[in-house]
């Protein structure tokens, strides 16, 4: 008996080993990469509509959204979905819809989405993803290509305020016409400034006496357009008074997710540098240039003007540092505008400083944030119809304006160019400016983005945490990162 049992155990273990060593080819996802594009239901008037003719008329369906935890724009999709879309669907299409929302923090959202989609689950019908994940989600066939859906639903074929920003939220591979996402929230890194400090007459006089030029006196673009990194350094130095518990700035240097990367890239891009060449897929020789090394050293040099614990500061840390009055300026996403401007009048939202070029002009290029909607490839036809109806409703001008009023950042040109848009939220002027063509960029959309990101986050965090802030060391760090990333991308 003992022998038989031992034999059974050994056979089972060998089978398991061989299974693990097997081809490992997972089941091909059932859904094709091009969706069967459900069209929008015929538009119905809101009065006396019974939704007749709509495929879902008379039914009760659930729309499940996966979004980012603790992130207002994501939460707004749930809030508006529950309050407004449910009514809209009932009145116009004649069906009841329940909107559910699941969430995860930024740094674990991809894992949550990927593991669900890898099991071909339709647990989440529509996902608020990060733009960098388009490749990672589309390559395995987990999300739908939207070209046909957009063709069948003209409302989704919107004119976007910034074509380059829209491409970042939609297209993979970069430069192709394949659309995998639609902009849920447009976002860009801007700067928030303590208006009370900048308008204080004593502070202004002291600053002028020390540096020979005037502090910006309001939040207008004109006042901040000439602020380059050198001038910004002077501002930060002036307001860094540890004995008074005040510091010049707070910038994200955290190693978690892409926080450090998002804050560092403006230093590269504003100086005209690049992180890679998507056409040749070259990173070595593009990322590890002398100019980029100077940019890395410059980025580190601002840590001396940050409150203690700067190396660990993330999005929430920026909000905490700024709203507790510890800093004069803060680099933060426009999406966090509501939290950053909660004190109303005393905060300006302005554009980032830039790099003074040889011709004397100041060039600025911020990091593009924001999230696209992506659609689960494993949705049932009913779920797909709800998603289509939801997106059609979402991209109506009324809904987009409501989104803006509640604190979200739309990208639709008709909304951003509408009268009075800048007055809706205090950060919209800066947001619009930085979203213009060429004023912001996204990073890679490669499937291996997580590996690429982890490589540089660790290396740059090590540089930022170390005592050596020299350009030579920065160059060595970039050389190392470029070499490793090139190996990853060439795999």
């Amino acid at each position: 008996m003992k022998k038989v049992l031992s034999l059974v155990v050994v056979v089972l273990m060998v089978l398991a080993f061989m299974a693990g060593c097997g081809s490992g080819t997972p089941a091909t996802p059932a859904a094709p990469s091009d969706a069967t594009a459900p069209s929008a239901a015929p538009a119905q008037s809101s009065t006396g509509s019974t939704g007749q003719g709509h495929p879902l008329a008379g039914k009760s369906v659930t729309l499940s959204i996966l979004g980012i935890g603790g992130w207002l724009p994501s939460a707004l999709s749930q809030q508006m979905g529950e309050e407004l879309f449910t009514k809209y669907a009932k009145e116009n299409y004649g069906y009841d819809v329940k909107v559910t929302f699941a969430e995860a923090p930024f740094d674990s959202l991809f894992q949550k989405a990927a593991t669900s989609l890898a099991s071909q689950s339709n647990e989440y019908n529509i996902i608020i993803s990060d733009s960098q994940w388009l490749g990672a989600l589309s390559e395995p066939g987990w999300i739908l290509k939207l070209n046909d859906l957009i063709k069948a639903n003209p409302n989704l074929d919107a004119e976007w305020y910034s074509k380059s920003a829209a491409a970042a939220y939609q297209n993979y591979p970069d430069g192709s016409s394949d659309i995998w996402g639609l902009p849920q929230e447009a976002d860009v890194l801007i700067m928030y400034v303590r208006a009370d400090l900048f308008t204080d007459s004593t502070e202004r006089a002291n600053f002028k006496a020390k540096y020979g030029w005037d502090l910006p006196s309001d939040s207008s673009i004109e006042q901040w357009e000439d602020i380059d990194f050198e001038k910004y350094k002077q501002i930060c130095e002036f307001f860094t008074r540890p004995d008074q518990g005040l510091y010049g700035t707070t910038i994200q240097y955290s190693k978690v997710y892409d926080y450090l990367t998002g804050s560092f890239y403006p230093f590269i891009w504003s100086a005209g540098g690049e992180i890679w060449d998507p056409s040749t897929r070259k990173i070595e020789g593009v990322l590890n240039t002398e100019d980029n090394a100077k940019a890395l050293a410059l980025s580190k040099s601002f840590m001396q003007y940050c409150p203690p614990g700067a190396i660990d500061v993330d999005i929430a840390g920026i909000v905490d540092n700024y709203t507790s009055g510890k800093v004069a300026t803060a680099w933060q996403w426009a999406a966090m505008g509501g939290a950053m401007t909660s004190d109303k009048g005393d905060t300006w939202a302005v554009i980032l400083p830039g790099y003074r070029m040889a011709d004397g002009t100041v060039n600025r290029c911020s990091s593009l944030g924001g999230q696209p909607w992506v659609i689960n490839a494993y949705n049932t036809p009913d779920q797909m119809q709800v998603v289509t109806d939801f997106l059609n409703w979402w991209y109506s001008d009324e809904t987009q304006l409501e989104f803006a009023k509640r604190g979200g950042n739309p990208l639709k040109a008709s909304v951003l160019n509408s009268d009075g848009f800048e007055e809706i939220q205090p950060w919209f002027t800066a947001f619009k400016y930085m979203m213009q063509e060429g004023n912001s960029k996204d990073f890679w959309h490669e499937p291996t983005y997580a590996e690429l990101l982890a490589t540089q986050q660790e290396a740059w965090s090590q540089y930022m945490a170390g005592n050596d802030g020299s350009v030579e060391t920065a160059k060595a760090v970039l050389d190392d990162v470029a070499s490793k990333q090139q190996a990853i991308i060439d795999k």
């Binding site: 155990v9 273990m13 190693k255 507790s324 291996t448 982890a454 090590q462």
Partner: protein
Amino acid sequence: MVLSHTYKTASKSVEKKGISKVQQFFSDDKRFLLVILLPVVLFFLVWNALPTMWMVGMSFYDYSMISATKTAQFIGLENFIYLLGSESVWSSISKTFLFVVLGVGIETILGILLGFLFWNSAKMPGRRLALTLLFSPMILAPIAIANYFKLMTNPNFGVISYIISLFNGGKAIELLTDVNLAFPTCLGVDIWMWTPFMLLMTLAALGSVPKAELEAANIDRLGWGQKFKHIILPHGKYILMLGIMLRTIDCFKTMDLVWAMTTGGPGAATELLGISLYRVAFQSLYLGRASAYALITLLVAIAFTSIFLFILNKKNSEVG
């Protein structure tokens, strides 16, 4: 004899009523043991052995969940060669070793000292309260502890930072964000959390020392050092070694505590093996390489355990 005869007679008569088949089946000791053990063995096979073998197989393949449409390719030992040739992997291994050696070492010493303090202290006032407080860190969730300490050591508002600043001329110390202090701080939290475990093992070890021998030693007026060397240590060391072995294995796997405090930073100052493995497996979703990484970790843990077991068995055979 009478009883077994009675039993056999009874079972024959029961057999006629159809119940005896079950009794017959279980009357065999080996068969009975097999039935008792089968669920446990199956559980172990399904949830432990089979996944482990699957992981071992996966480690020889280039497989990423993100590129799931591409066939996983057999690449032999390439994953292992890459990992063992990677500076960051060796850095993680060395940091983990340092973490384990220092952590378990200090926890053991502190646990032993506290154990002697509470040994035979039934009449100590406040003993129960003291022990309850001492054991409480051990039962809290590591993630909760990590977040408490992260808040308490925050250089801007943390209470620990504030207290330190009182002795540092008002200047805050960045315990978790300074590249030189982050590792010792994480180690300190681990020690705070797991010293009670070693205290528990010490108390168990001391409880196994025969009182008669201690009384005899007292009568012979042996010094404390001689009592410890000739009576306490020989009896208590096996339990203590077991505790050290368990703690070593557990410490080796530390991930959640450090992740919540520093996510392996600043830089790579606290990038332990568990954190590094997590990144490869669950952020990059590079399962082939992650399997190889996990296998290396498993082999190192097995090596640790084997050393302890060898020492234990050697001592047992000497005693035997």
